[in-house]
């Protein structure tokens, strides 16, 4: 019972465990909810999902699985027809799958259009479901490599939109980019990072308690000191498409400033060359030589680059490639100098990770940074900080 549902959640990468499935079954057995799918949804979410960041993923998985099912399995005697069809669709043979893969894109669309028209007729005729065969590439839950997902509207000749279809927790998902809502969580992520690496100090309370316990013999206790030892050097790409993201980043890091022992920031445009600047309004008057930066800050600083890394490849690899001035040495050389000066370096990129592959300059910079480029999402930030702490 519900094993298929459970496995479906696993496939959708929800961290659920057997223990939780058993708890859910126990709750059903205790008749905590009536035979209503809405209540079952709430119960399943309470028992199975332990993080609001996963609510949205759960909603989607739930909608996929229970599309067309109106009552709770196990409580009703007659299983709805749609559900049987859904189940049949999920148990296709290998041969069927191979056959499905052969459909081309145009053909798929063509068929889809025809099927949709057909469905219209059928709808008038009283039938409810798109594609009666289990191999339909359309609709939720089916298996098809090029399947077209149909939203609630397309098959929505049923009831009003369900709770899980509203997807109200979308903005709590940790894979979306940073915004006002989740900046606080990101801040905590940085804070955690800032608290690491510390010496020990005398733990007076435990020493007294231990000494008393020892009957008066001195018993020294030490504990890790809670202080912020992390020093950060921040390089921000500024200008053009980066402006919006930079504001987010600056807000983020300056809010975290109190947590770091030292936080220094510099601006650059597209790629780092012989000079960087601290005040963007006076970028042409007050430049700091990159050599000076390298000589000023010790190797215990952690280097964080923020930029979209999208530029012409010449700007990285050729002398004189800069869009703003003549540079004698290529950006790649400067970047590798910085990397050498501060071995702990990462690059945060506000562009979605899935798009990186298409831009040559991003690929080049990732290579220069030893694959240490992370997207500017909560998840990416978390991975980045973990890499830096290592």
């Amino acid at each position: 019972m519900l094993v298929d549902f459970f496995l479906h959640l696993k496939v959708r990468q929800l961290p659920v465990s057997t223990q939780e499935l058993l708890a859910l079954l126990e709750a059903l057995k205790a008749r905590l909810v009536g035979p209503s799918l809405d209540d079952f949804y709430l119960l399943a979410r309470t028992v199975l999902v332990k993080d609001e960041a996963h609510y949205d993923r759960f909603d989607r998985a739930f909608a996929e699985y229970f599309k067309g099912l109106e009552t709770l399995p196990g409580f009703d005697v007659d299983i709805p027809e749609e559900w049987l069809k859904l189940a049949a669709r999920r148990h296709l043979s290998e041969a069927d799958r191979l056959r499905l893969q052969k459909l081309s894109y145009e053909k798929l669309f063509d068929q889809f259009r025809r099927r949709l028209a057909e469905q219209q007729e059928r709808h008038e005729g009283g039938s409810k479901w798109i594609g009666t065969a289990g191999t339909s590439p359309y609709g939720h839950g089916g298996y098809h490599p090029e399947g077209i997902r149909i939203g609630g509207e397309s098959v929505g000749n049923r009831t009003a939109i369900k709770v899980w279809e509203r997807r109200e927790f979308r903005n709590l998902d940790d894979s979306v980019e940073l915004g006002v809502r989740n900046i606080k969580v990101a801040l905590r992520c940085l804070r955690r990072f800032a608290r690491q690496g510390a010496a020990t100090e005398l733990d007076l309370d435990n020493t007294i308690a231990g000494t008393a316990r020892n009957g008066g013999w001195l018993d020294l206790h030490l504990r890790p000191e809670r202080h912020n030892a992390v020093k950060v050097l921040l390089f921000l790409d500024i200008g053009g498409s980066m402006d919006d993201h930079i504001r987010t980043c600056e807000a983020l890091f300056s809010a975290a400033r109190a947590e770091f022992k030292h936080l220094e920031h510099f601006y650059f445009h597209n790629c780092v060359y012989e000079g960087v600047w601290k005040d963007n309004r006076r970028r042409h008057d007050e430049r700091t030589a990159t050599w000076d930066v390298i000589h000023t800050y010790g190797p215990d600083y952690k280097l964080i680059f923020v930029g979209d890394a999208s530029m012409s490849p010449y700007e990285i690899d050729r002398p004189g490639g800069s869009v703003e001035h003549w540079n004698d040495e290529p950006g790649a050389l400067w970047l590798s100098r910085l990397r050498q000066a501060w071995p702990k370096a990462i690059w945060l990129n506000p562009l979605p990770e899935a798009h990186w592959h298409y831009t040559p300059s991003i690929r080049r910079l990732r290579e220069l940074f030893g694959e240490r480029m992370f997207p500017l999402t909560l998840d990416g930030l978390d991975r980045a900080m973990r890499t830096l702490a290592r």
Binding site: P15, S17, Q19, E20, A23, E26, A27, A30, L32, V33, D39, L42, L43, R45, T46, V47, V49, K50, D51, E52, Y55, E168, F169, L172, V180, V185, R188, R192, I208, A209, A212, R213, G215, G216
Partner: protein, 280 residues
Amino acid sequence: MKFEGTDSYVATRDLTLAVNAAMTLQRPLLIKGEPGTGKTLLAEEVARALGRPLFQWHIKSTTKAQQGLYEYDAVSRLRDSQLGDPRVEDIAHYIVHGVLWQAFESDVPAVVLIDEIDKADIEFPNDLLRELDRMEFHCYELRKTISARHRPLIVITSNNEKELPDAFLRRCFFHYIRFPDKETMTRIVDVHYPGLKRELLREALEVFFELRDVPGLKKKPSTSELLDWLRLLLAEEIPPEALRAKDAKEAIPPLHGALLKNEQDVHLFERLAFMARRKT
């Protein structure tokens, strides 16, 4: 016995279901949500509604798991031994019972609130795994195992400052209190100010939700701030029309200090109001 909310606490359907599930299956209930949505209040209200005693344990960054079970006051015992106090013979005199011990020994089923568990050390939840699972622990000094007479309902709140370990999460039920929608909010206000004029309430909620939608606010006003603001509006006898006034000077809601707690937010809001004024 089921929890259905109380006369002073509006619980939505999903919340009551979560509480009842935790109670029936005797699992701890982990509550998260925006600040000011009534996480801590929940345990108090559940205890009140069910007539159970409530044991509260507020967590700080220095709190140890052991402190919730018991503490051995070695320093007092050492002092007593040097003063020749006869009590020193029995170690039980120096065992200070923690919140969980008290709840476990309670004659009637109790409610335990572990407030802001994320403030504690990262190992804190792990240290409580067995205690929450089996509802028992061993007191080494007394060579005695304390087990719960009735498994208490344990409500745990978290503000998401630290990640909780998976092993701990698996043992809990989880509920995220969403920010209430307009309908729920009306019910909440009704519960707190039954006499409030409908018109004023409608206008106030309008202003409130508009304010929450302003992009870039550092701290969005929450339910508890709305309630404070309404109390002020009532005390000052502000007429509903004053809230509706969209013309020049009145673009900022009266007594906005109760809603916006941050200087930058107030500035931002004033700027936006100024721009809106210029447009008209």
